[in-house]
């Protein structure tokens, strides 16, 4: 209910945040929207001694066009992504999925960068960014770097961010007419996904040129449905049902009180088929 004691610093810029991280070492955590961090601090699952508030870095709150990509500032709120005309027209899966995160309060405070840096594979956005082959821009004491989504999520709640690094921007490709879908299964409205599936389907001449499929909550990190993706590469649109049968191949999701591992695999197959069908029709 109440976190352990912590100090509080306000970062005036991304560079300042990096400096503060350098001063306080790995006991510091960045505070963005706080809607993942503060609950786990209240449950005392996390006990950072310093919070560095990056909530005032308004220059990291943007959605921009950048050639064939969209650049989204890390401090952009879920609700701003959800309602951005640019995101809706060029990367609809992202706007749609941002609208499924938590509840309205969470979406108005929580940020895209915060959700990714928290690295929870049960959150809706990481799997979608993975399916999008997104790139993440990072600033740290060693300078700037860019990392692919596939290399960003390392383990349960662990990412490639070093203790003195800050995620500043995410870049996603414009979908350019590719079909998309995100299917979330939960038993209670506004709950975490038991399983979620994001799919992006590119078509040419009546067949599928590529399928990119990312899972929510099927492993300790967001993962791709590799077998199904391979089966669909260059395949006929009629092969979706068969390809979806292999969606859970190679996964070993956890069993918990929301679902058994086997039922999650079942859901992964069903939802993958539904996502692919919807992506095809979109």
């Amino acid at each position: 209910m109440i976190p352990l004691k912590f100090d509080y610093e306000v970062a005036e810029s991304a560079q300042h945040a990096v400096e503060l991280l350098g001063q306080h070492g790995d006991e510091a955590k960045l505070l963005a929207g706080g809607h993942s961090l503060l609950p786990i601090m209240k449950l005392r699952l996390a006990a950072p001694t310093v919070l560095i508030d990056i909530g005032r870095l308004n220059d990291l709150n943007y959605v921009r066009e950048d050639g064939d990509k969209l650049a989204i500032g890390a401090m952009t709120r879920h609700t701003d992504v959800e309602h951005s005309d640019l995101v809706k027209s060029e990367c609809g899966i992202l706007a749609y999925t941002a609208g499924l995160v938590g509840d309205p309060q969470v979406r108005h405070r929580g940020t895209i960068g915060g959700s990714l840096a928290h690295g929870d594979a049960a959150s809706d956005l990481p799997g979608v960014f993975l399916a999008l082959d997104a790139e993440f821009k990072i600033t740290g004491s060693g300078g700037d770097r860019t990392i692919a989504a596939a290399d960003f999520f390392e383990d349960y709640l662990m990412t490639a961010l070093a203790p003195d690094e800050i995620l500043t921007e995410v870049r996603v490709p414009k979908l350019n007419g590719a079909g998309w879908s995100y299917r979330k299964f939960n038993r209670r409205a506004q709950d975490w996904a038991v399983v979620g599936v994001g799919a992006i389907l590119e078509r040419s001449n009546g067949s599928i040129s590529s399928a990119r499929i990312g899972f929510t909550n099927m492993a300790s990190v967001p993962v791709r449905a590799s077998a199904t993706e391979q089966a669909l590469s260059g395949a006929s649109v009629d092969s979706i049902a068969e390809a979806a049968e292999s969606a859970a191949d190679g996964t070993s999701p956890s069993s918990d009180i929301a679902a058994s591992s086997e039922f999650r695999q079942h859901l992964a197959r069903v939802l993958t088929k539904r996502a692919l069908d919807e992506a095809l029709s979109r």
């Binding site: 209910m1 109440i2 299964f185 038993r187 209670r188 409205a189 506004q190 709950d191 009180i257 929301a258 679902a259 058994s260 039922f263 079942h266 859901l267 069903v270 939802l271 539904r274």
Partner: protein, 700 residues
């Protein structure tokens, strides 16, 4: 609605709750919010083992922490009287009977200091093996002497075995319901203050006198030395019926800091260990019927759980004794006593799990007999209460079933499972009956004072746990006094008002209302006889006790209801949605159409929740509930609840009480889970006999 009601015409009107504006503005004072000088704050120490004893407890680091006033342990706790209640007699030795049991407390100047210092207390245990495994094949199951509310554990009428052997249609299946936790929005809260040997408790309770009568003997006090104040309560669902150990802990702690108020509110996590819960049940239902579908045998054999330190035996099988007609009826109850927290009341203890099993089985039996489940129930309607042999004071089940079928659009239903679909959704409908006894509780008195300006003040130590008592009692009093509702001021929720039973067993209105009617009659007679029909300038008052109801020996008294549910099941994922539910109740005269509707609705949603969501998962190795918060203990949100069509039939029952009302707090939950399960079966062809109905159970 707040329109003025004509004198004598308040009962039945949908009057908005009189204290509603206080609650909306945050101005209603709940237990924890009473402003007292220099309060101290309590954070409990809870056992981290399920069975054993505290071998060593070192509070020195906690005591040295700034702001800490005292640390309470079994080594320094004041002695309690031995009343034979191991749940309440805490800190009298180091024994531990379940995980989460209170073994001490830190009292500090701030909540934060208390909580922090609690983590500094070093505790060593001598642990004994934990036995928390609830199974029907244990060799130590036993029959309790009596069930909750005094019911017999085992009953037998006729020859069930013989009837089953010769039945043309036989049915035998086992149903299970899980452990469920009450979880009112307001957690249990207390402020305890001792002053010259008297204890004042600002409490969140379903009955100020129930609290007084339980707490006073523990501290060796006459009842009137314990003052209990509880004007507003944020729900209870039974868990605030009788006080739990949190009240004792607050009172013990307050003794260490005499004169200073000690505040203690349970956290949501603690609600899953110390505030009661519904036992899991395993129920074997056997039914026999002749070729026409007339029942010849009804049998419910129940296995359920209790705690080793204190027995609570839920009356799960009692509804099977009176619900349907049969010459041969048998019910049994066996208990497993485990190293677990003490189970207790949860909305409709007995009926809620019992009617899930019976009403599911009735659905299955109707199918076996090739009969419509509504007609099957109606043709097995009994003429009298088979348990007591008495006639029913009124029995509106058939009317509820007929009315509900009409409102829901039941006629023409294709009984074949999986006969309707909407895309990937399988669509089904189900029905179940509901029942709840009309309980009456003793020990009630009331005082009414009339002032010369025509205003009346009514005092009774009753409780409003969110049910609308502040309003409904005013309606009853106004009508009996023959004045308008606005001229009556209620005073409840405090032991400074006359003795009253609590809000439990849906008995509140019957018990308090009967008392108010008697007091109002006394006052009117007094005004007539002593003052010539006019209220004197100095005012006049009269008091009365609840009169005995002579009809209780002549009639069996129950409320009834019928639920109709449409369920939609995604055939690929097993997702269940309930887009609509129609429930009709026969609950005597409805006192307030608005608050009654809320009560019915809350019960129905709680039944829906039991059907699809609620399950406290116990880690049998360590004896604790794993999903002890609202993230993991699922209750539906508004978005999960479909359209609710709620109504009641006009029922004139002159026997139950002077108002003609029956309790309505619990009947909404009874049978509603079965109606959902029956609709899910009709949609899918899959019968789920283990609650909750999670998606995986519908995917083969």
């Amino acid at each position: 609605m707040t329109a003025t009601q004509a004198p004598g015409k308040s009962v039945g009107a949908p009057i908005s709750r009189v204290e509603g504006h206080l609650k909306v503005r945050g101005a209603a004072t709940y237990a924890y919010e009473h402003r007292l000088d220099e309060p101290a704050y309590l954070h409990p120490l809870q056992s981290t083992i399920a069975n054993g004893r505290v071998a060593k407890i070192d509070a020195s680091r906690a005591e040295a922490e700034p702001g800490v006033v005292a640390v309470l342990t079994h080594e320094n706790a004041p002695k309690l009287e031995a009343v034979g209640d191991a749940e309440l007699e805490i800190l009298q030795n180091g024994e531990v009977g379940f995980r989460g049991q209170f073994i001490g407390a830190v009292i500090a100047d701030t909540f934060e200091a208390a909580r922090y210092a609690a983590g500094l207390v070093e505790i060593e245990y001598e642990e004994r093996e934990t036995d928390a495994d609830f199974r029907p094949d244990r060799d130590d199951l036993y029959t309790p002497e009596q069930l909750n509310a005094g019911f017999e554990p085992d009953t037998s009428v006729g020859d069930v075995d013989g009837a089953l052997a010769s039945a043309a249609v036989k049915f035998d299946a086992t149903y299970t319901t899980p452990r469920e936790h009450n979880n009112p929005m307001e957690p249990h809260s207390s402020i305890a203050v001792w002053d010259e040997g008297e204890l004042t408790l600002y409490e969140s309770t379903q009955g100020v006198y129930w609290t007084q009568n339980t707490i006073a003997p523990l501290f060796g006090l006459d009842a009137e030395k314990v003052h209990v104040i509880s004007p507003h309560v944020g729900g209870g669902f039974g868990s605030k019926g009788l006080p739990h150990a949190n009240v004792v802990l607050a009172a013990l702690a307050a003794m260490l800091v005499e004169g200073r108020p000690v505040k203690f509110a349970l956290t949501r996590h603690m609600m899953f260990s110390v505030a009661g819960y519904r036992t899991p049940t395993i129920q074997r239902i056997r039914l026999g019927a002749d070729a026409e579908g007339k029942l010849s045998a009804i049998c419910n054999d129940v296995v359920e759980q209790t705690s080793k330190i204190k027995e609570f035996a839920e009356q799960t099988g009692t509804s099977a004794r009176m619900m349907y007609d049969s010459s041969n009826i048998q019910t049994t109850h066996l208990l497993a006593a485990l190293d677990v927290a003490v189970p207790s009341w949860l909305r409709a203890p007995g009926e809620a799990p019992g009617m899930f099993a019976l009403e599911s089985a009735m659905d299955e039996m109707a199918i076996e007999c090739d009969l419509d489940p509504v007609e099957f129930r109606i043709m097995n309607e009994p003429e009298k209460d088979l348990e007591s042999g008495l006639p029913f004071s009124s029995r509106g089940l058939v009317a509820c079933l007929r009315e509900g079928a009409e409102r829901f659009g039941w006629d023409g239903r294709n009984p074949t499972p999986r006969s309707e679909r909407d895309g990937r959704w399988l669509v089904g409908t189900g029905v179940a009956s509901s029942v709840y006894p009309v309980f009456s509780m003793g020990g009630n008195a009331a005082t009414i004072r009339a002032d010369s300006d025509g205003k009346y003040v009514v005092e009774i130590g009753a409780a409003d746990i969110g049910t609308g008592t502040w309003t409904t009692l005013g309606q009853i009093a106004a009508d009996e006094l023959g004045v308008s509702f606005e001229d009556v001021e209620m005073k409840i929720g405090d032991t400074k008002f006359p003795n009253a039973s609590g809000a439990g067993g849906s008995s509140g209105i019957t018990s308090w209302g009967s008392t108010l009617v008697e007091a109002a009659r006394s006052l009117r007679e007094k005004i007539e006889a002593e003052h010539g029909g006019n209220i004197p300038d100095e005012g006049v008052e009269a008091s009365a006790k609840m009169p005995k109801n002579p009809h209780r020996k002549e009639y069996a008294m129950y409320a009834f209801g019928a639920h109709f549910v449409e369920a939609r099941v995604d055939e690929d994922t097993g997702e269940v949605r309930v887009p609509r539910m129609t429930s009709v109740f026969a609950a005597g005269r409805i006192i307030n159409a608005k608050t009654a509707r809320s009560q019915f609705m809350g019960g129905m949603v709680m039944g829906l929740s039991a059907a699809l969501h609620e399950e406290s998962v116990l880690d049998t190795r360590f004896g604790h509930v794993v999903n002890h918060d609202f993230a993991e203990y699922h209750i539906p949100t508004n978005a999960d609840v479909g359209e609710l069509d709620i109504s009641w039939i006009e029922e004139d029952d002159p026997y139950v009480n002077p108002m003609g009302s029956k309790g309505i707090g619990e009947i909404g939950i009874v049978g509603s889970a079965a109606a959902v399960a029956n609709a899910v079966y009709h949609a899918t062809g899959t019968r789920v006999r283990e609650l909750p109905i999670t998606p995986d159970k519908l995917i083969s």
